[in-house]
Every structure is written in C-alpha cells, then in structure tokens.
Symmetry: C2
Subunit: 263 residues, 2 copies
Amino acid sequence: MSKDTNNTDSENYQKKKQFFDQLLTVYGRNPVFEALQDKNNQAYRLHLADSNRQAKVIDDIVKLAKKRDAEIVYHSRQELSRISKNAKQDQGVAVDLVCKGYQDYKTFLQNNQGRELDIIALDRITNPQNLGMIIRSVCAGAIDGLLLPRKGCAKLDPLVIKASAGTLFRAPILRCDTLTDALQDFQQHNFRIYGLSSHADTTISSIPQQGSSVFVLGNETEGVSQSVADCCDHQVSIPMRNQVESLNVAVTASLLAFRKVMV
Amino acid sequence: MSKDTNNTDSENYQKKKQFFDQLLTVYGRNPVFEALQDKNNQAYRLHLADSNRQAKVIDDIVKLAKKRDAEIVYHSRQELSRISKNAKQDQGVAVDLVCKGYQDYKTFLQNNQGRELDIIALDRITNPQNLGMIIRSVCAGAIDGLLLPRKGCAKLDPLVIKASAGTLFRAPILRCDTLTDALQDFQQHNFRIYGLSSHADTTISSIPQQGSSVFVLGNETEGVSQSVADCCDHQVSIPMRNQVESLNVAVTASLLAFRKVMV
C-alpha cells in the first residue's frame, strides 16, 4: 500500500471518528418524539425494536424520522437495549442525533488552538436535575465547553434532557474518559485550572479575566475529589453572605457561565 | 386617657406587630426537628397536638424546644391545623421561629431609608424547588430583600425549606399582600423597578449600577404578569447564546444576586 493511501485511510478514519463522536443517542418514546420535533436537531438513525406493538406515537416517530432524512433500522429487543444502554427506559425506541457541539475534548482542543476559552468541568455531578440545569446555563452563557467525563456523572437520560429544556442537543459538551487526564491536557494547552471550593481564601473576582480557564465543579455533597483537586492550579470560592455554607452546583455553574455577561 | 398613654399603646402595638411579623411557622416532625437543631434559629413557641401518640422524635423535639427556651403549647388536632395551615402535612407538630430577616416590606422600607438597596421580587413562582433555590441564592448573595407576596407563590413549606438548604430562616424575606401595591411603594421610595423578560431589548449590563433597584421575576411558564409588568419602569433581559429561549428562574435570581460579587 502506498503512503498516500495510508494517509487517506487515516484521514477517513479521523473524519468517521469525529462524526460518530458527535452522535448522542436519545431513547424513550416521548424524548425521541420531542427530539425529532425540534427542527434544529439533525437525526442520523432511528432504531426500533421489532417487538414494538402498533402505536400512534411510533407511527408519528417514523413519520418525523423520514421527514428528517434519518435512516430507520429495526433490531431485536436485545440489540436495541445494547444501543440505548437502558433497556428499562428505552420503550423500544432510540435515535442517534448529530449534535454539533457534542465532541471529544481532544478534537475541541485541536480545533480551537490560540483562542481564549472558558471551560466548565464536572466531577461526579450525580443529580440529573442539576446536570440538566448546568447544561442549559452553559449553553446560554459565555462558556466555550462543558467537560463531561463518560463515567461518574449522571447519564444523559430523559431526565437530564428535560431539565436542560432541550438545550442538550446544541450545548458544547466535551466528552473525556477520565477528568484528571483531560485536565492535564488542558493544562498543557495553557489553561489555568480552578477548583471551586467554598473553603478557598482566593475569591473568584480576584482571578485574571484574560487567558484560558477551566472551572472544576465537584459533587453536590462532597465537592471536588482529591485526585481532581490535585490537578487544579488554584482553589477559588464565590463569596457568600449570612453564613451560607454553599451554593447549589447548578447555580455555581450559572454564575461562572454569566460572569462576563452580567457586567 | 392622656396623649402619652395613647402613644405608648400605639408603640407597643407596633412593636408587637413587628415581632409577630417575624414569626415563621414550620410544621412536620422532621422539618421542626431540623429547625430546632440549628442553633442559629430562635424558637418562640412549639405547638403540639394533644392527639400525638408517644414517639421518640416528639420527645426529642420537646427536649430541643426546652433547650431553646421555647414555650410549649398543646392544642386540639383541629386547633393545630389552624396554626400549621396544613393539616395533611403537619403531623401534629409546628414551631414558630423568630426570623430576623423575615418582616413586612413596610417595616423594611422604614428602617432602611437613604440606603442604596437591591431587591428581588417574585410574581407567581409556584415551584417549591425554584423558590427554595431562590431563597438560598438571595441569602448568600448581595441582595437586601426578597419581596414575596402572601398569595400566588409556593407556600413556605417543608419542600421549600429543604430546597433552601435551611437558609429560609435567616434570609431577608419581605412579605407583602399584593405585589403591585408594594412595587408602587418601592417606586415612591425612589427604587427603579425592572421586570425581567427574555424578549426585552435592554440588557441587564446596560442598567446603572448606582441607585436602588427592584428586579421582578415572573412565573416559570408565563413570565411576569401584565398587571405587574405595568408597574415596572423598564423591561430587561439577560443576553443568551445558542438561541436558548430562557433561563431557569432560580438561575436568573442567582445571576442578579451575584452580579456585583463576581466581578
């Protein structure tokens, strides 16, 4: 095989990988129906279990999928649950959406070199309501990416989609395998890494407005875990009155997302 | 009766009124237990239904109430539900807490003349989760009062207390009967009244930092009602990216509460 062919193969592979990285699988009849109704959403493939009984909502889903030029594929019940990864809630229906903002963080870093960026990273946010609200605020605010580890946080399930008010499909979500590895990569790309902690003496208003930053938000009860805190350059707090001990994590994310918008 | 006696009577009445305005009645066994556990909370009276059966949690509540020097009063089941105003959830227990921040807005206006103040006002916030989160952020942020009408918003029930992370008892909550009347009073005290609306052309960053302001937040679905909007001097929006149509109302309240803190 010549060198050229090799390059083209590798390029094709990269393109394919980037495309599949952008696919977000939504399951459950109502969530799939609503996702297909939103004209902003590009649907790639609709998956149906061949065990599904005749139902109006399934007919409506198929009609919408055709309108959106999605491929329609039938599977055994078992195959479908491998696709949805949630046999209990998929109700025999799943759809792969092409989400422009949804990508691997490495692709994002590659495509945004030299830009000044603000990122929010999540460490074990387990409440779907909180995760959905964070996604909504990040999508609306002045944040360039939400770094979301594949494990440890709430799954991107129908509850999260609902709490995100449908913004999940266009939010800039950067997936990573482990947060500590990803944070080190960001550090090497000249990002400053800030761990949010209500105990920190340094307050958010004292950090520089210039340069690229990652703000790390930790678990609702325990905060940022030790291994992740070790990757942070600084711990920072948001000053609070009246001896309030902490803010809701979705509120904290929103304050960060809008800190340059409100002034 | 001499003029002096009249004055003293009137002063006594005012003092009594102010004291009783500060009482917040919490009901339900766990909420009462938790409220009494917090040493920051001053308890005035513990109310118990004489129909309550022997239970460890009741004994613990009585012990804590004695420790906090609260008067303990027994009532018929019916009388107790008149006190709790929630027979279904009171579980035969209620406590009146003295909340320093909790008062009638008129008292607040009287006591804060000449100061520059930021107020958040709520118009029909019906979701207890949202109301609790708003109270938590207002209590922690740079807001001098949360103007809360007695009708139309979620009741200050155990769900709200929980969502407020217990901050309800020290949050600056200003009660009013009708929001429109109260807003006109604030206007006469030289406050500018801003209605938050995602459709407004004027953005939050363009309003003056000086002077006293009331920010009005409307219902989760319908926004600020017409009669309340008519009382506002300006409609303002928070700019959003990615065609996001609105923010969660508790997030909006938090952004307002921390807008002078984050910079």
